[in-house]
Amino acid sequence: MKHRMVVLVALVLAYGAVPLLLGSMDYVMSLIIAALTIGGVALAWALLGNLGGLVSFGHAAFFGVGAYTSAILVVDHHWPVLLAMVAGGVGAAVASVATMPALRLRGPYFALAILAYGHIFRILAVEATSLTGGAAGMLSIPGFPTLLGINLASKTGAYALILTIVLLFAWLYGLIRRSTYGLALRAMHDSELATRVVGVPSTHLKAAMLVISAFMTGVVGAFNAHQINFLDPEYAFASSWTVLPIAAAIFGGYRTVWGPVLGALVVFLVDQLVFKELMPSGHQLVFGVLLGGMVILGPHGLLPLLGRWSKKEASHAGA
C-alpha cells in the first residue's frame, strides 16, 4: 500500500510537476530528455547485464540500428513515426540475432565481440549510401506527431514520450525479473550448471534477454533520431551510446530496476551542467573515472549505498 503511494506520487511528479516547473526552460528540458534517453539504454544494458549476466560493450550497435531502421522507414516509406519506432526496436532485435553466435563465448569475449559488431554496423551504415545517405547522414528526419491532443514534437511532449517509454521498459523488466524466468536467470549467475540439470535452457534464456535488451535500445535509438531530426553513422553508432549507459547503470547499481535510470539522470546532468563547463574538451574523462571508481569502491553501485544509509537513518529515527 505504502509502495503504491510512493509510485503514484512519483508518477504525478514526473508527468505533472516536472513539465509545469521546467517546461518553459528549453535547455533544461533538452537535458532531461537526453538523460532519459541514456537512462533507457542503461536500463536495457542492465537487463542484459543483470538478468542475462552478459556485459556488453556494444549497445551503440543496437542504438544505431534502431535509429536508422526507424528513420529510413519514415523518410523513404512514409511510415507513421511511432510505428516506425517500434520497427526500429524490431530491427535492433533482428540485428541482435546476428550477434547470437557470440553467446557461447565466455564473458569478456562476448563483451568484445559485441563491440566488434558495433564497428561493423557503423561501417556498413557508412557504405550503404543509397539506404543511409552514407557518411553525410540523413537530414530533416520527421519528428513526432500530435497524439491525443499532445504535441509530442514539443519539448514537453518529447519528454512525456521518452518518460513513458522508459517507464514501460522498467515495468517489463520488473515483470520478467519476478517471473520464474527471472528466477532462473538470476540463478544462472553463480550456478549455470545447477539450472541446466533441472531443465533450464540457459543459453536460450540469455538469447531472449539479448533480444529484449536490443529491442529496447533500438526503440530508444529511434526516439533519439526523430527527436533531433538528424542521423549520421558517427553519431548513431558513437561509443558514447555504450559508455554513458554503462557508467549510468554501474553508478546507479545495475542489479536494480531503477538504478540505471536514476544513475543516468545524475551522471548525465552533473556532466553537462558541471564538468562540461569546467572542461569543454575531454569532459568524458569523468565517466572513465566513474567507471574505474565504481568497480574499485562500490561494485554494487551508488544507489544501494544510499539505500543502506537511509535505512540506517530511518532506524535511528524510529528508535
Partner: protein, 292 residues
C-alpha cells in the same frame, strides 16, 4: 595489378611488425592475469604523444624519445596494474570495465593536452622512400620499426624461454597454483608482465608515430586490433602473435588495394568474428574462449 598486390603484401608485412609488438603486450598480460587490458592501445598512444612532444619542444628524433616514453608508459602501466589489484570480486569482468574506464581517462587526457589534431613525425629522414627490388616501395620509418618489432619479438621470445623470470611468467600463465608451489610469487610476475607489456607498447607507440599518424581516438582502434590479433594467435604464443599480426596487416592493405580504404577497418573485425565462430581456440592456439 600483380604489382599492386605485391606492394600491398609488402606494406602489410611491414605493418605486421609493429602490430605484433602491440598485440604481444596485450597477450602477455592476458596470459599471466587473465585480463584483457582495454587501455593497452592508449598506452601505445601515450608513447606516440611523448615522442611528438619531445620532437615539438626539443627537436628530438623519435628514436631518442624512447627512453622518456619508457618511463612515462612504464609508470602508467604500473598504475593500471595497481588499480586492477584493488578489484575484489569477479576480476575477469570488472577488470574489463576498469580498464575501459582507464582507457577513456587516458584518451581524454591526451585530447586535453595535445588536442584532437592528427599528428605525425616531421622528421623527413624517416619518411624518405626505400625501394626494395624495383617495385616495392616503403618509407624508411616503416622498415626500421618493422625490423625493431621483429627483433623485440625475438628478444621477448628468448626471454620467455631462457631466463628465470620468463619461465616463471610462463609458469604463472599455464598454472598459477603450480607456479606458487615452485616458489614463484604470482603478484610480482603479474607486475613484471605489465612492465614488459609497457616496454612493447612504448616501442610500438613511437613506431606508430613515425610510420603512421596518431590522434586521440587511435588508441581504441589499436586495442581492438591487438585483441583481434591475440584471438587469431590463440592467446599466448609469440610466433602466433607475429603470424596473426602479419595476417591482419596484409588483410588490411589488400582490402585497401582491392576494395576501398574505408573498408580497411572491417577486415580485422570480420576476420575476428570468423575466427571466434569457426575456430574459437584461435588459429594457432589451444586455449579456449568458449565456455566450458
Amino acid at each position: 595489378m600483380l604489382e599492386l598486390i605485391l606492394q600491398a603484401l609488402y606494406s602489410g608485412l611491414l605493418a605486421g611488425g609493429y602490430y605484433a609488438m602491440i598485440a604481444l603486450g596485450l597477450a602477455l598480460v592476458f596470459g599471466t592475469m587473465r585480463i584483457i587490458n582495454l587501455a593497452h592501445g592508449e598506452l601505445v598512444l601515450l608513447a606516440a604523444y611523448v615522442a611528438f612532444e619531445m620532437e615539438r619542444s626539443f627537436g628530438w628524433t623519435p628514436l631518442a624519445s624512447i627512453p622518456v616514453a619508457l618511463v612515462v608508459v612504464g609508470l602508467t602501466a604500473l598504475v593500471i596494474y595497481l588499480l586492477i589489484g584493488r578489484i575484489r570480486q569477479d576480476r575477469e569482468l570488472n577488470s574489463l570495465i576498469l580498464t575501459f574506464g582507464i582507457a577513456i581517462v587516458l584518451t581524454n587526457l591526451i585530447l586535453m593536452i595535445w588536442s584532437a589534431d592528427i599528428r605525425s613525425t616531421s622528421n623527413s629522414w624517416f619518411m624518405d622512400g626505400v625501394v626494395l627490388g624495383d617495385t616495392l616501395f616503403s618509407m624508411r620509418g616503416e622498415v626500421i620499426f618493422c625490423v625493431i618489432g621483429v627483433l623485440l619479438l625475438a628478444a621477448t621470445y628468448w626471454w620467455l624461454n631462457h631466463t628465470w623470470q620468463g619461465r616463471a611468467l610462463r609458469a604463472v600463465a599455464s598454472n598459477r597454483d603450480a607456479a606458487k608451489l615452485m616458489g614463484v610469487n604470482p603478484a610480482r610476475i603479474e607486475a613484471l608482465s605489465f612492465l614488459v607489456s609497457g616496454v612493447l607498447a612504448t616501442f610500438a607507440g613511437v613506431a606508430v608515430y613515425t610510420a603512421s599518424v596518431v590522434f586521440p581516438a587511435v588508441g581504441h582502434n589499436l586495442t581492438i586490433k591487438a585483441f583481434v590479433i591475440t584471438v587469431l594467435a590463440g592467446m599466448g604464443s609469440v610466433p602466433g602473435v607475429l603470424l596473426g599480426a602479419v595476417l591482419i596487416g596484409v588483410g588490411e592493405t589488400l582490402t585497401t588495394t582491392l576494395a576501398k580504404p574505408s573498408l580497411q577497418e572491417l577486415t580485422g573485425m570480420v576476420i575476428f568474428l570468423l575466427i571466434l565462430f569457426l575456430r574459437p581456440s584461435g588459429l594457432f592456439g589451444r586455449k579456449g574462449m568458449v565456455k566450458k
